[in-house]
Subunit: 441 residues, 2 copies
């Protein structure tokens, strides 16, 4: 074998970055792989646009068959995004014996187990470092440390848009809507930001992380998903009083009989590393039984960081292909159906906020409603209210660890009371009882 | 090949962890490698001690030849520590065609280039993830991202003892000597803590990191090394006023024509992730031209985290061996002699502290001495002093970016003056002009 030839599906910003990195680092990549890595064909929408001046026109095609049916290609790199037709193309490439590198989180979240099984059956490799956390080597770390360890929990800032918005609200006092507009103006948020600020993008990434960390085959609808849309500037001030910062986290915990998978705004102690990962940066904290805690942080998106991850995958896959021992990356992922624990059964401490009419006895009623539901108060602050009967007051508190469903029921009851001016708000606090596997170790 | 057979040099806490992880995860490791990984022979000091009940007595030996001359062994794992005889054994193992996994930072710092050249000439692999940062996958990340990127700078908390002592001083107000005693009592510091608190251990690790990050072949004596012994509790309070925390960092920067390699107490902004990596945790921040910033944090020492790294290396090396394409890990490290920039030529901002007799005009004299040396003051606080002529006062300040040698000369002059009660103290602030490679990108 004199070279490893790759085909590219898509050549947008990430694809262009991959082309550039492969060209600029051809020598060092050839040393690592054992033979040069060459770009054979590239599927594009419009070859006239010629986004990548480094590529000869003859390499470009608008017909996917020119890539998928080209028997001289060893590896197909999918950087077109979206689920269809990416899924079909990737499956066809696998069936024709090519190894796959993809940075497509949505494809993996929706069709990961199917694609992995297909690749395993065919004995080809499938690598996807670029799918989660951009240039952060989290997939690699999970994969490699898992050769000899088990992950008990993970929590990550995996959506840069949410982190940017929350950072601007907290550090600069921006209102939510202004922070979103600013993120849009800077290109950090889409015109329709729902997928990001609603937590759905983070849920997709959590599904991918859970495949590796917990060997879990999980439909993304099973992830309890909350966005950041309801957080107010004043929430940031209140949680700061209690020593916390609000981060939008994707959390996975292995309870042994089930796994927790949830995406929601989360209070983390201000003097921790993850609380200080700001702006568009991402971070993933993992807890390994043998490894202990490990935090990885960096640019979670962007063409060049993601391209670095894609090229690292290409090197891995190409090296295995060249050595004739491919398929190990795929075989190492062993998926099984795992029960996802109901959010009601999650146990953690809470931040609660009640906007009430400031009447005598209201606090007692709230405390009683919480107590009846087995929720005990840790710290409490009342803000506003005063002389005028019926003035609005905010009662803000943190609770000890409580069952999520108990908190929900108490809040529903309080929300229906005559003293509540609006539905109570809550955010969960990071932590809780140790994950089951950790408990036994 | 029906199995990959490994020989262990040393079986202390890390070695025992490796044996345990290899046994407990035999299936998943075999899947990744392609064949099972078996422990052949283990060199120990005293086989009667039998530290690892999992190993049959027949595997243990006190004669290194039983490991080094055993032609059935594919990989030698060196976890005995120290430079001699580890260096001799590793070289012999390479010469007999075995691949090497080591977690020995001192061996690599003192003899890394020699060992790497030997392994490259013989075409065997050499892996050393466990040598820096325990379970943190920093070597892997540097190695893999460097396939297509170049590192412009790195800075790391790479010594857990120093980080523990500084954390306890800052968070709990402990005096330096009390914090060191506590670290010793907890097993975080040696009876003679000099290697750690003096910065020498961090300098060794920086030499190893610089090999990968900058391709630099550097003698460890070239690293400008300062310890944490002179930091006082009050320094933590003063730097907090300016918005910083003190961390003991190992810093490497590529200036193009030369590299900066320095280990010293460093002020980092308090609201950054690395400033909040506390206790015995380690962290390494790298800045890649394409990757951007990346921070990796976790347990920097301890038997199990380090064993996880060693086993990940064993899997890599065994997989390459099994595929018949070994030597790529070694070939990918290309070392050259790099000029280490004199500390006098480093440019950064400074924290300065002067203990002076509180007389009229002293501040003006200090400011003049600094100004004469091209050092300009950014912020200043005077503490103490008062009515009594000649009372002691602390003048504490931060400077704008200045040449290190200019600061040194100014401090020498001030230290010799009649108003100085003791030698001025200084700490460097993280940052400075962009590294050269970054500047051109």
């Amino acid at each position: 074998m004199s070279a490893i030839r790759i085909g590219l599906l898509g050549c947008g910003t990430v694809g262009g970055g991959v082309v550039r990195l492969l060209r600029d680092n051809a020598d060092s990549i050839a040393t690592r792989v054992g033979v040069p890595v060459e770009i054979g064909r590239v599927l594009v929408r419009d070859p006239e646009k010629e986004r990548v001046p480094e590529l000869p026109k003859s390499a470009l095609t608008i017909d996917e068959k020119d890539v998928l049916d080209d028997a001289s290609l060893d590896v197909v790199v999918e950087v077109m995004g979206g689920v269809d037709p990416a899924r079909k193309y990737v499956c066809q490439a696998i069936d024709s014996g090519k190894s796959i590198v993809t940075a497509n989180k949505m494809l993996l979240a929706l069709a990961g187990p199917e694609i992995i099984a297909r690749a395993a059956a065919k004995g080809v490799d499938l690598a996807f470092e670029g799918a989660v956390g951009g240039g952060i080597p989290v997939i690699r770390t999970l994969r490699e440390s898992l050769a000899s360890d088990s992950i008990t929990e993970l929590s990550g800032i995996v959506n840069g848009t949410c982190n940017y918005v929350l950072t601007r609200m907290r550090q600069n006092g921006l209102a939510y809507s202004d922070a979103v507009k600013e993120a849009q103006a800077l290109g950090y948020a889409e015109a329709d930001p729902t997928l990001d600020v609603g937590g759905h993008d983070a849920a997709h990434k959590l599904v991918v992380l859970a495949m590796l960390a917990f060997g879990a085959k999980v439909a993304h609808e099973k992830v309890h998903t909350e966005g950041i849309e309801k957080i107010e500037s004043s929430d940031h001030d209140f949680v700061a009083r209690f020593g916390y910062a609000v981060k939008h986290l994707a959390i996975g915990r292995d309870r042994g009989d089930s796994i927790e998978l949830r995406v929601h705004p989360t209070l983390v102690p201000r003097d921790t590393a993850i609380a200080n990962v700001n702006g568009v940066l991402n971070a993933i904290a993992i807890e390994g039984r043998a490894l202990g805690p490990c935090l990885l942080s960096g640019r979670g998106a962007g063409d060049m960081p993601t391209a670095v991850s894609v090229v690292a995958d290409i090197v891995d896959v190409a090296r295995a292909r060249h050595s004739g021992k491919q398929g190990n990356l795929t075989r190492a992922v062993r998926l099984q159906d795992r029960t996802v624990c109901s959010i009601d059964d999650v146990e953690c401490a809470h931040y609660l906020r009640f906007r009430v009419f400031d009447r005598p006895g209201v606090l007692a009623k709230i405390a009683a409603a919480l107590g009846d539901a087995n929720v005990s108060i840790e710290q409490m602050v009342q803000v506003g209210g005063g002389d005028a009967q019926g003035a609005a007051a905010d009662i803000v508190m943190t609770t000890h660890i409580a069952k999520d469903g108990d908190v929900r029921r108490a809040l529903e009851k309080i929300g229906k009371s005559d003293y509540a001016m609006s539905a109570p708000r809550r955010m969960r606090i990071l932590g809780g009882p140790p994950a089951t596997r950790g408990r036994h170790s």
